[in-house]
Symmetry: C2
Subunit: 130 residues, 2 copies
């Protein structure tokens, strides 16, 4: 049973951009736009292990994702939790699935296939919405 | 001289929603959609002193604001810095200026005028963009 409220779960199933908050090495927050995919249990993101997003999460797995509804601007969902799963994605199959979800017609990642590519799985612990 | 790059400052001058990352009492990140206004030196937000956003910032003033361009979805700006100024806004004049900026035609805040209303001023220390 997910903590994500049924009234707002469609903000996770639509291909909307999320804003992912992570913690930098000094504990300060960092927020960046992200693609995501929701499988009913975890939110999945794509990155590479040499990027800040990964390094921040490797240092402290606590994250927060904020998504707002472009059709109703005061409607939003925030999901807080931890990244408890890192899956290697060296052939970028996970990346390409996400790219297709967001309507990007590519056959490889921008910047090329990268042995350091991973999928990060966020398990929600709390959700707030409006 | 602001750290905000001239190529992306218009993401701060347009009435776009931002996603503000703050730190909860336990150091975990929280991210929520916000109105903001840029005066060339600070980003201003409205809240009340009994809300998480204020309590988080009172506990640790380090924050991050992420804004993306709805017309060019891979264009974004992240501004990191500290909230170094809190201005009381008990008559909600600051709130109403922000509401007007975002096209909301109201004569008082949703929820009513509140003696605890404040404006928070974020001074940027770093910016990243794409």
């Amino acid at each position: 049973m997910s903590v994500v409220p049924s009234t707002h779960v469609e903000l996770l199933t639509r291909p909307l951009f999320g804003h992912l908050g992570t913690l930098r090495a000094d504990g300060a927050p960092q927020v960046n736009p992200v693609w995501f995919e929701w499988d009913g249990e975890r939110l999945w993101f794509t990155t590479t292990t040499d990027r800040y997003k990964y390094r921040n999460i490797a240092g402290d797995p606590r994250v927060s994702l904020s998504v707002d509804d472009p059709d109703r601007p005061y409607r939003y969902l925030e999901v807080r939790g931890v990244v408890d799963t890192v899956r290697r994605d060296p052939s970028a199959l996970g990346y390409l699935r996400l790219a297709a979800r967001y309507g990007l017609d590519v056959d490889r990642p921008v910047g090329g296939v990268d042995a350091n590519r991973v999928l990060l799985g966020l398990v929600p612990r709390h959700a707030t919405c409006q």
